[in-house]
Amino acid sequence: MNQLWLIPFLPLAGFLLNGLVALVASSARAENESGADHPGAPLPYAQRLFHGIVGVGSVGLAAVLSFAALVPYALGSMRAPEGLAPIVQTVYTWMAAGDYTVDVAFRLDALSALMLSFVTFVGTLIHVYSVGYMQKEEGYGRYFSYLNLFMFAMLTLVLADSLPLLFVGWEGVGLCSYLLIGYYYDKDFCAAAGKKAFIANRVGDFGMVLGIFGVFALFGTADFSFVELAKRQVLAGNAPLGVYAVCLLLFLGACGKSAQVPLHVWLPDAMAGPTPVSALIHAATMVTAGVYLVARCSALFVLSPDALTLVAWIGAGTAIFAATIGLAQNDIKKVLAYSTVSQLGYMFLACGVGAFSAGMFHVFTHAFFKACLFLGSGSVIMSMHHEQDMRKMGGLAGRIPQTFRTMLVATLAIAGVFPLAGFFSKDMILGSAAASGHWALYAVGLFTAGLTAFYMFRLVSMTFFGKARGHGHGHGEHAHESPPTMTVPLWILAAFSVVAGLLGVPVALGGSDRIGRFLEASVAHPEIHEMSHGLEIGLMLLSVGVAVTGLAWAWRWYGKAAGPAEAVSPEAQAFHERTGALGRLVANKWNVDEGIEALVLSPFRKIGTFLWRGFDALFIDGIANASAFLVELLGDLLRFFTTGHVRNYALAFTLGFAALVAYVWMS
């Protein structure tokens, strides 16, 4: 029963099966049609059914196995006073060098159990949703094989018992992200977005690899037993500086994968992929891998308060920075993308103030409501015939009521309205920031919570309220609800957006903070500050108040007053005009892309051009060409010895032989 390796390898089998069948079928079709027929025709029903069953089935089975493993573990762990010891299963020895080995070993402990639960659960739902969403798309089989490959990589990442194996999964999810962002590879901007994601992640992975080396240098091992060593502070070498450096390097890796400033630029562009991909990879699972990494290495991070401070401020900065951009986006998926970046910032903020379990809790709840929001936006986009601009939507509440209701629930959840999931996790983060005395971070987080509520309700208002604003007899009037394969996952995710937070009801509200106690065994908990329950409840009221204010404001500007022609009320328009240059800067995403272009890419291109034109073309080629020219010159002179007269050759031969004999004679 407890064969952990089966959990990642079932999706791998699904990937191979789907990929092979899709390849064979497409080459057979190419032969039959010989290019004359339209190549974009949907697949035959039987083949689509096959891909769907294999794709959903392999992941579903993996989910069943995961829950069969993690539920007994979690229950047992809750009962035991110190929690259960982690279950580690070694499959085989991957590398052996002297007496040090790196094993392919899988580990189930509190942290990986938490990740496993929502990765497989949300993953399965999104696979089901994809069956409906992708049915008219080309490359159905390719889509499901990539999605299965992603699940394999993600589950390897989550279950790995060592940093090298985690890195395999880490790179695997990066690859699948690239493949799926560039899914519509015949469109230039999709291919470019895929490349951007891949390259931005390279920057982070560079730090990640060095960080792994650093962990090995510090502890003499790279499997997760180093966490125990870190807890007991058994370190080799120059500890304080070494730990600081290793933390920064690992955090650089986390920044790349989890889209923290300034490496966040790839995530909004990643929305070029199909919407279920955005939901699965770029919202619920892959992008949280960075938070997982930091939480996994939390025992190391708490040894370096400087590193933690940096993590907290990068997280807080990203949270507020991305939230401001989210205020001014008109593409429904872009709003959600910046929202994801912002929420990931929240998670790092939590880690940075030492509340790793709060960060992981937010990862957990965020997976449900953000997946719900993305899948809902997919449903909206499909009903609008692939229109993503919210200014052209409006009035969809009555047309696609199920999508509307589920998205509304998820919006309230992410805004942090009591008692939905987002309230508990976000409040745990804000509470921890306040309890550890980081009041500046708390203020940033609180303000961001208001912004979050505002831009999310702006999204809902522009999309669902008011009147349809499509061209002529607009899209909106012909909108129709999505099939059950799409609405059922929406409802399930909406339900979890409501109840997932109950795992972490704080003590102040009469709960017992189950999630925090469950994760205690796996993550560090540096210093526990107690706040009075009165203060804690006061802060909660404050954050709910801020959230509601944000919601109401968005309703006033974008919901209530929006007319049939304009997406926004005159007040919002006037405000935007009053903000002037700053407003334009925010709408243009703070010009980060342009800044990176000017500060990094352009110098790099100049260096590259210099190395090409100056060094390679002039210097290297110069050496090669000059030596070739010399040889040619020499040949031009020597060739006159080839007279064509046999007797010259014979004479030369004779003289040469005589010289040789003379030489031998002399010596």
């Binding site: 060739r639 080839t642 007279t643 064509g644 007269h645 046999v646 007797r647 014979a650 004779t654």
Partner: protein
């Protein structure tokens, strides 16, 4: 005299004379090969040089009482026969193409 093969009468002519003759033959052949313009003459000169070497082989074989020298001569004669056939065929072909076998006039393979 040492090294006389069993059952063979001692040499009447001293071996130094053979060496002198062989050297002279070789020198004549070399001069002919370098100076003659007729391909056939050059070829004959080379044959002369080859036979001078054969004579050296035989002389030294006799002097040292070693049969290997004699054996090599047989190989040289066999190879020379084959070489003569090929060489003469080339001259016939050359003559057909150029109506001459003067090597100074057949100098096409040059810079």
């Amino acid at each position: 005299m040492t090294g006389v093969l069993p059952g063979v009468a001692p040499m009447a002519v001293p071996p130094g004379a053979f060496l002198v003759v062989a050297t002279l033959l070789f020198a004549i052949g070399l001069a002919g090969a370098l100076l003659k313009r007729n391909a056939l003459s050059i070829f004959l000169s080379i044959e002369l040089m080859m036979n001078a070497v054969n004579l050296l082989f035989l002389t030294y074989a006799r002097m040292r009482g070693d049969l290997a020298g004699q054996m090599i001569v047989f190989f040289v004669i066999a190879v020379a026969a084959a070489e003569a056939a090929v060489g003469l065929a080339i001259f016939v072909a050359l003559f057909r193409a150029h109506r001459t076998v003067d090597v100074d006039k057949i100098a096409l393979l040059k810079w």
